[in-house]
Every structure is written in structure tokens, then in C-alpha cells.
Amino acid sequence: MRKILALTLALAMSISLVACGGTDASSSQAASSEAASSQAAGSEAAGSEAAGSEAAGSEADAAATSDLRVDVFYYNFADIYISTVRASMDEQLKAMGIEPNNWDAAGSQPTQSDQVNTAITAGSDLLIVNIVETSTSDPAKDIVEAARSANIPVIFFNREVADNDVINSYEKCAFVGTNAPDAGHMQGEMIGNYLLENYDAVDLNGDGTISYVMFKGQEGNAEAEARTQYAVEDADAILTGAGKPALAYYDPNAATKYLVDTAGNWSAQAANDYMVSLLGSYNEDSGNMIELIICNNDGMAEGAIAALQNVGYNNGEGTTIIPVFGVDATDSAKALIKAGNMTGSIKQDAVGMASTILTLVQNVQSGAELMANTDQYTVDSDVAKIRVPYAMYDASSAD
């Protein structure tokens, strides 16, 4: 009897829980629709044209929710930049009436390969892949083969498939991303110019050279390699061109001129760990403070800044600012830059990346060639790779 009572109670509790969940969902839905309508109102105020296109979008939305099954594979949900791309992809795909299936590989190529095969068996119509493994194209090749045997298009994005033959081997295959070395070149240029303008302020110990540390996101990743190399080389070129000495790595005896996230996750945590331990032996009291911090991405830059803030640097007005440079211009990095706690970043245009991919998705939806309607983009001459341009981002940048 007591058992039955307990069971009934438990049942009642779980039902009430579900009911609560239900109201929760509906109330949040209401909230979001409210937000949407206020957004619409805002854009109306901003420009009737924008509002018009939005209305058209929602009309199409109402008219026909597409039955195109689109699977998007992200290399890691935990990556900040990738999260912004995901947010913008979701929004734009939903505007097209497509409900994307998002997959998280959590930084593991085996997981991703399994996910791709699973999605194909589930009847996917289009694969959009943010490949995990970039130092070799073999996993990408396997994915292309799987897509070919199922006769569905595959779009790689952001993390480049280096081997052009893999992309070229299948006519329904394309890549959308940046030209990796550009980020490094641009970061180097930005650093060089910044230092020329602020040389004496940056040179804390007044020894005439700037000591720096480089945080590398991952060993063996083409983008990380390029950024690590060119950021320093190009900055050096600008400095020596203006008669200043080249940058000096903080530890002249180091075997490699960078500290790398050994887990290969480009993580803030790794940069933070390094920075905290560096600050123990390299500081102003010993006259060997690190005067410049270059990071492969903004996540690592934020990690380094957090470590600096622990010991009273880079904390707004009145504190000494160690220049920190990142790549990606994520929202949180932008906030840091606007507050003056970070110096610059290279903007990877998440919205632009998403909208470029969307052009290809539309092609698939309308049954056109995968690479149709791409004249306005920068496309490599010998391979179906669309390049989304980078841009510099510092305190003077808009937005």
C-alpha cells in the first residue's frame, strides 16, 4: 500500500514537473516572440527596406518550411568563434525555413566521422562540415567519399581542407573559409604599426627591445602555424624597416618561440595557465616583464588577459596595459578592446561566413550547381574554395 502511495506521489511530482517545464517553454517562447517583434520594430525604424526583406523572409517561412534536411557538423561547440558562426547559421537557415541538425564533435575527429555517417544514413540532403582534423586531409577525403556514395553535396567551412584534390574530386564539394595566412599577416601588420606608435610606452623596462610571448592554439594546424609564423615575421619587418630592433622572445633560450595548447583546443584555460606561471618569474620587479602578448585566437587572448588582471594589469583606466592581440574579434574580445584591456584582433566575419554558406545552401535548395551565384565572392581559380576576407579590429573600429 505504502509503495503504491509512494509511486503515485512520485508520478504526481513528475507530472507537475513536466507541467512546469511546459509553462516554462511557452513563457520563454512568448518572451522570444516578443523580442522578435521588438527587433522587427527596431529594424523598421532603422530602415523600411530591411524590415521589408525580413517580412518577406518570414512570409517565405510561413509559405513553405523546406523539407531539405541539412546537417551541420561543428568541430567543437565549446569554441567561442564557432559558437558565433553557429548562432548566425541557425538564424539564417531558420529564416530560409530550414531547421538544421547541429552536431558537436567536441574536438574529436573519430566522433565527427561517426556523426557524418550517421547523418547520411538518416537521409541527410546536405552536409556542412567544420572539419576537426586540419593537418591532414584524409578524414575529409573519407567524408567526401561518403557524400559521393550517397550523392549529396558537402560544404566544408572555416577549418580548411588543405588538399585541393579532395575538394576537386567531387563536383558537389566546396570550401568556405578564410585564406589562413592572411590572419597572421594582418595581425603582424597591426602589431608592427601599433608598436611604432607606442614604442616607449610598451617598452616597460626601457631596454629598447620589446619582449613578447606567443600563444599557439594547436600543434599541426595550418591556421595556427601560419598565424604563429607571420604575426611575428611581419611585425618584425615593420619594426626593422623603421629602424627599431626586432621583437625578442621572452626566453631567448626557448626551443620553440611559442607556447602551445597541448590539448590542441585553442583554449583560454591553456593560455591562462601559461600566463600565470610566466608572471611568477617574469615581472616588472625583476625588470623582465613580458611586454607584448600575441595569441592565435581571442579565447587565448582572454585567458592571458585574465591572468594579467590577477596581478593588476590590463584592468581599465590607471592600470598598465600590456598589449594583447588575438584573432577572431569575438563579442567578448570586442568588449575587452572597447574597454581598453585588449589591443587588437583580426575579425573573422562570422555573419559573412554564414551568409556565404547560405548562398550555397540556396543553390542546393533550388537545384542549381553548388557553386552558382558566387561571382561576388573571392573564389580560388583552381578549386571550389570561397575566401571570406579578414579585417582588423581595434578600439577605433565601428560596432
Binding site: 574536438g107 574529436s108 573519430p110 547523418a119 544514413t121
Partner: protein
């Protein structure tokens, strides 16, 4: 019918209800699995398509060896955190020894491509050696396996990081594998190729067969050998086992070494299956394997576990992996659901144990 027989019948009816209840609870996971599978099949009929089922089968086969190995450690009331890194190092070694002769950045240019059986022997032996190392410290110094294997995991990661930077590799992914090797693992025999009815072919890769053989072998070792009996005796009650003449040191080392050999095999398979091997290969495989074992009823209490349970556990985890996205479940929720199932499975498991007590 007399009153007496009526009450007897009622009694037996009651007994039956109780028995059915027990049966339901004891097989709750299988029932849940079937319910989930049924739900997915109804909402997404493509889930039951042969292609999709073969996908589930191959995924299960891929993750089975590590679970089969780690289960032995759990039966000894232990665990093995070094499994993932052991898979990583053996995968990288397999790949580096079996790169095609003309691969770009061939890691060891002077050795060509070694024969496949030799490489299997090397990596399985290396895995067994790593396991024996774990087992030795566990048995000899009475250290908890959690501590020993945590240490081994870290040591192996260093070895792995150094290894991927060795030779011509410079920390890049080890790829460009020999076609014969990939074919040996992911290729498929004509016997297991079926037409899919739409002009295509359904292919079951070789490593599924290997996984079946491996499961049979492990079943034999666990159930039909003295070593298997000793392992369960030791896991259930070390003192009692010792008194009855079980060699604790030898058995512990052998259990961990057997687990290590499984990781070596898993590394050999994973290497060709994924075709790209980095220092991250194998990361966290042990957690999935441990989860599969406890879901399948291999108890951390020790001395309890069945091979069939492990297989079910692995299928269950892969089912979550395959099914949740199929029904349009948010990927963010996947981890919470996995966690919930592990908790539920273990609670159920302990409940059985407490009742027994």
C-alpha cells in the same frame, strides 16, 4: 474449485506479478533501450533502414574492444583511466608503421611499410605491457587503480606528444596510410556485401567481424578459464580469494594486461578507421567505455559483470549517439542524457546489489 486451491491460485498469481515486476526492473535498461529504439523508429522510419542499422553496428564494433578490456579492471573493483591514451599511442604507432611507402611526410622513411601481422603483434604487446605496468603497481603496492592509471595516463600523454613529434612528423597528424592496412580494417569481404535494393551496396566492414571474434574470445576467457574464475573471485572478495589460493599479484597483472592488449587492438583499428592520428586520438575513450560497462551492469562493487551486458552497454551509448540527433534532439542535451542514463543504470545496479545483501 475448493477454497484452498483458489487461495493457492491467488498466491501464485501474486507471485507472478512480483516476478514480473522484478523481471521488469532487472531488465529495465533493455526495455528502455527498446522503447527508445521504438520511439525513434516511429518518428524517423529511416532509423530502421538496413543502412542505418549497419551504421549502428559498425559504431558499436568500433567502441567495443576498449569496453571489453576495461570491464575486467572494473570487475576487480578498479578502473582504468589510461585506456584512452593507450589507444592513442598504439593508434599513432600503428599508423606510423603502416604509412604508405610514398606518403608525404612519412614518419619513418627507412622502414617502408611493415607487414600488418607484425604491427598487430607490436601494438597489442605494447598495450599489454602498459596494462601490466598498471596491474603491477595496483597489486604490488596496493594503490587504487584510479591513482595508478591516472598517473599512467599522464605519462602516456607525454610519450604520445613526443612520439608525434618524432621522425619526420613534427607534430602533424599521422596519415597517408597504406591502402592494404585500411582495407584490412575498413574494407569488407564480398560475403558481407548486400544490395540495398536501390542499386547501391550495403557493406559491413571487416572490423565488425573482428569485434565479434573478440567478444567470443573474451566470453571464453571470462567464463571458461581458471583465469576468468580467479578474476571474479578476486573482484568479489580479495581475502577469500587469497585464502583459496588465487595468485593475487599474477591475476591482477594479467587482468590489466589483457585490458591493455584490448586497447592495443582498439588503437590498431581506430588508426585505420579514422585515418588521421594525433596526440588527441583516443582522448576520453575510457570514459565512454566505463560508462558502457556500468550501463551494462558491470558493477564497481566488484566481481559482477557479463560480456553480454557490456555489449548492451556499448549499443546503448551508440544508440543515444545515433538516435538523439535523428529525432531532432538538441546536441547540447546529449551529454545530460548520457549522464542521466549512467546515473540511472548505476542506481538500478546498486539496488539489485542492496537487495541481495
Amino acid at each position: 474449485m475448493s477454497n484452498e486451491s483458489k487461495s493457492l491460485a491467488a498466491k501464485s498469481g501474486k507471485l507472478d506479478a512480483k516476478r514480473i515486476g522484478d523481471l521488469l526492473v532487472n531488465n529495465a535498461l533493455i526495455i528502455i533501450m527498446l522503447v527508445v529504439a521504438g520511439y525513434v523508429a516511429v518518428t524517423q522510419p529511416s532509423f530502421l533502414s538496413p543502412r542505418s542499422l549497419i551504421n549502428l553496428l559498425t559504431l558499436t564494433a568500433a567502441y567495443l574492444p576498449v569496453a571489453l578490456g576495461i570491464a575486467g579492471c572494473i570487475v576487480l573493483t578498479g578502473t582504468d583511466l589510461s585506456a584512452g591514451r593507450a589507444v592513442g599511442i598504439t593508434a599513432c604507432i600503428s599508423a606510423s608503421l603502416l604509412q604508405a611507402a610514398d606518403a608525404a611526410n612519412k614518419m619513418w622513411p627507412n622502414i617502408g611499410t611493415l607487414p600488418i601481422p607484425l604491427v598487430i603483434v607490436i601494438v597489442v604487446a605494447l598495450g599489454a605491457l602498459i596494462g601490466a605496468f598498471n596491474g603491477f603497481f595496483v597489486a604490488k603496492f596496493k594503490l587504487h587503480p584510479f591513482i595508478v592509471t591516472l598517473a599512467t595516463q599522464l605519462i602516456l600523454y607525454t610519450v604520445l606528444l613526443l612520439y608525434v613529434q618524432a621522425g619526420n612528423n613534427n607534430g602533424m597528424a599521422i596519415s597517408g596510410l597504406d591502402a592494404g592496412y585500411r582495407n584490412f580494417v575498413v574494407g569488407n569481404p564480398p560475403l558481407l556485401t548486400f544490395p540495398d535494393g536501390q542499386g547501391g551496396q550495403l557493406q559491413i566492414p571487416n572490423f565488425v567481424i573482428y569485434a565479434v571474434l573478440l567478444t567470443a574470445l573474451m566470453w571464453f576467457i571470462w567464463n571458461k578459464t581458471t583465469f576468468g574464475k580467479n578474476m571474479f573471485a578476486l573482484g568479489a572478495n580479495e581475502e577469500a580469494a587469497k585464502v583459496s589460493g588465487v595468485n593475487v599479484l599474477g591475476t591482477t597483472i594479467a587482468v590489466f594486461a589483457l585490458a591493455g592488449a584490448m586497447y592495443g587492438w582498439a588503437g590498431f583499428i581506430e588508426s585505420a578507421r579514422i585515418a588521421s592520428n594525433t596526440a588527441n586520438t583516443g582522448l576520453n575513450y575510457e570514459l565512454d567505455a566505463i560508462a558502457a560497462c556500468v550501463i551494462g551492469g558491470v558493477s564497481f562493487v566488484g566481481g559482477i559483470g557479463k560480456i553480454s551486458g557490456i555489449v548492451i552497454g556499448v549499443i546503448m551509448l551508440r544508440l543515444i549517439f545515433v538516435a538523439l540527433p535523428l529525432v531532432g534532439m538538441d546536441q547540447n542535451l546529449q551529454y545530460a542524457i548520457k549522464g542521466g542514463i549512467i546515473l540511472f543504470a548505476c542506481a538500478l545496479d546498486m539496488r539489485k546489489y542492496l537487495v541481495k545483501k
